[in-house]
Amino acid sequence: MKSFRKILVLALSFVLTFTLAACSGGGSSEGGSSASEGGIDDSKNVKIGVLVADATGAEALAFRSYYENYIAKQYNVTFMYSDELTDAAAEASAIDNFIANNCKAIISFASSDRPAQIRKCAENKVYYAVATGTLSDEEYAEFKDNEYYVGAIGPDLATEFQAGYDMAKFYLDQGKTKFAIFGGATPYYTDMHIYRTAGMLVAMCEAGGGTYNGASDFGSMIGKIYEMNCQLEPAKIGSVEVVSYIGGYDFDDAWFGKLAEAANNPNVEVLLTVGSGLDTFAAFKQESQQLATVDSYTSDAVAAMKSGVLNYLAGKYSASIGPIFMATLSAVQGKPIRTANGEALALSQGYWVATSAEEAEKFYAVDSSTEDPAYTRAMLDTLFGASYDDFAKFVSAYSFEEIQNLKK
């Protein structure tokens, strides 16, 4: 009996010892390394909450894939994703959930009420960063000195304007003069789409030598769109014509009818879309027409470019959210990246533009890789605790070629 007790005590001691060891090492990475060369502490798992407003879009899925299939495997981090958030109340609830789950930082793709998100995170001493977007000037002024606001990296509104401008100019330079425009969420006052549409219209004003309802430059065009309550209409712009304009995402019979109507207009040479080009015009497009869109690099988009259904694609690359992750991790691990004045990041990134199937295929191969994506760990590690200038320089080199050069 005594020997049985001894064995039992011994066994319990082993169990206790291993349990304590497991608890003390809880969350450690598989490799168990304490710090990499760049100073990143890989010994402790960092939980990061991700707020998403779109869980089904191709772009959103590509971003998620980069974080989950590459970043989470390279670093000792765990990403917790929210549901699809449609309003400020849902965002606040999701943040509460992240905080309750011991998230040390939140990266946000949701924009219903960013100031409220930042305030809530700061109150709870949780770091907050904006992925693929920017704050307005007023919002930035309010939060730039907040130590828990890491910053924002993504296409700013000037970049969005330029994306629309470049798209229209590409076809105007080829002598095309008759356009149909899909304005996406412009009627819902979505800045990103308003600025892209404005860019297209300004390019047409310059090429056609006319005005769109009296507006012809950046400032006046944005003002004009808001003056029209974001409900745009076809117009002649000098020698160029917007033959048809459709806005909104109604997905009803009338909406599909309008898209088909625009694409079947024999005068329309080019179908310009601020987004969702494949889901809107692709099925109705005539062979003689050109289709251009802002979207992400997916296998469907590449196949569409190969078959000639899609002819111009400006896409965000999925790894573009790598630098904001590193800035967030840096802040969590005590090496925040701030300007010389201690202000938060506010950096812009642009798009990769493909005008041929070969280019699209090349971009997609890199963008979809989970082994060797556009921004690899080796590249991102150089940003850990980097100076603001170095960080900004890295982010500003966003073209495909520049990133390939950075890799070398």
Binding site: A58, D253, A254, N264, A303, A304, V309
Partner: protein
């Protein structure tokens, strides 16, 4: 009521809508039918609306509010298109698969309802979430795209849509007016307790109702997918929206049904809605105006139905 008067009352609403919408277009200097595309737009709208209206009305008339119809259309089209693309099939097999999956998903929804015995509204919300989630998981959230498949996209022609419309009408008339199931369905509508006491099996009847609604939504999912060449994912009840296109035709159909067959009424209600949709297209009405007009039409018609006698008596007095 004489046959001629019944015929006139049956055709009055769609004819009136047709005349008014044509006049509006003419006033704006636009011809409603300028090319065959506009006929196609009209017929496609009729096909979409009538399938949803029939599917919704089957259970709604029995007091079962079914929020899952949109998710059945979504999931059945995802499953059928995935198989179609994998095996390189054409549009007809894809339609057959859509109908099959729609039927099975509808039956599953009905089975859950008769097994759990919870209020149908709650069951259908749960089923909608489940089917949406399943579609999302199957496609990894990416949806399905076949924009390069000209054969599947080529299904969207006027004769094909007309065949679907006629088949749906015949299916509804035979199932509800020519079969024992249909007579049982009507008996249950007029008094469930009495009907059950006479030996009618209400659970079996409900199950067939859910199956029929699923079958129709399978066809709707197929039309929707082959119109755009892509299937977008919906989460968190995103698929419910399609139900709302069916309310006005249902009320119009119910009204017309007083003078003729209610299935024909729903079809004429769908035709009326399609004329309104085509007017939005021809005049390029922006979506916010479109939504306000559609809501006003629905509310206006409901006000009329609820005050019909009072309005008619006022009309008689003035004459």
């Amino acid at each position: 009521m004489s046959k001629g008067k019944r015929l006139a009352c049956t055709a009055a609403i769609p004819l009136l809508v047709c005349v008014i919408t044509n006049l509006i277009c003419m006033a704006k200097g636009v011809a409603m039918f300028e090319s065959s595309l506009h006929v196609l737009t009209l017929i496609r709208a009729v096909a979409n609306v009538i399938l949803v209206t029939y599917a919704l009305s089957i259970n709604l008339n029995s007091g079962r509010f079914d929020f899952s119809v949109g998710s059945i259309a979504l999931l059945s089209s995802v499953l059928s298109s995935a198989i179609t693309l994998k095996y390189g099939l054409g549009p007809v097999p894809m339609l057959a698969l859509s109908l099959l999956f729609g039927l099975l998903l509808g039956l599953l929804s009905g089975f859950v309802y008769i097994t759990l015995k919870l209020p149908p509204m709650i069951i259908s919300l749960g089923v909608a979430l489940f089917y949406e989630g399943l579609a999302y998981s199957i496609t990894d959230g990416h949806g399905i795209s076949f924009i390069n498949n000209k054969e599947l996209l080529g299904f969207g022609t006027i004769p094909n849509y007309l065949i679907i419309i006629v088949c749906a009408l015949i299916f509804m008339v035979i199932l509800f007016d020519q079969t024992t199931f249909g007579y049982d369905y009507k008996a249950l509508l007029s008094g469930q307790r009495v009907a059950v006491n006479t030996g009618i099996k209400e659970k079996k009847n409900a199950l067939i109702c859910y199956g029929a609604a699923g079958l129709l939504m399978g066809a709707q999912g197929f039309i929707s997918a082959t119109t755009t060449g892509s299937i977008q994912m919906s989460l968190n009840f995103g698929s419910i929206g399609i139900m709302f296109t069916a309310f006005l035709p249902m009320f119009i159909g119910g009204y017309i049904g007083r003078f003729s067959n209610d299935k024909l009424g729903y079809l004429l209600g769908a035709v009326s809605m399609a004329f309104i949709s085509l007017t939005y297209v021809r005049l390029m009405v922006n979506s916010s105006v479109q939504q306000v007009v559609s809501a006003l039409l629905l509310v206006g018609f409901l006000i009329y139905l609820n005050n019909e006698q009072r309005i008619l008596s006022l009309f008689r007095k003035t004459h």
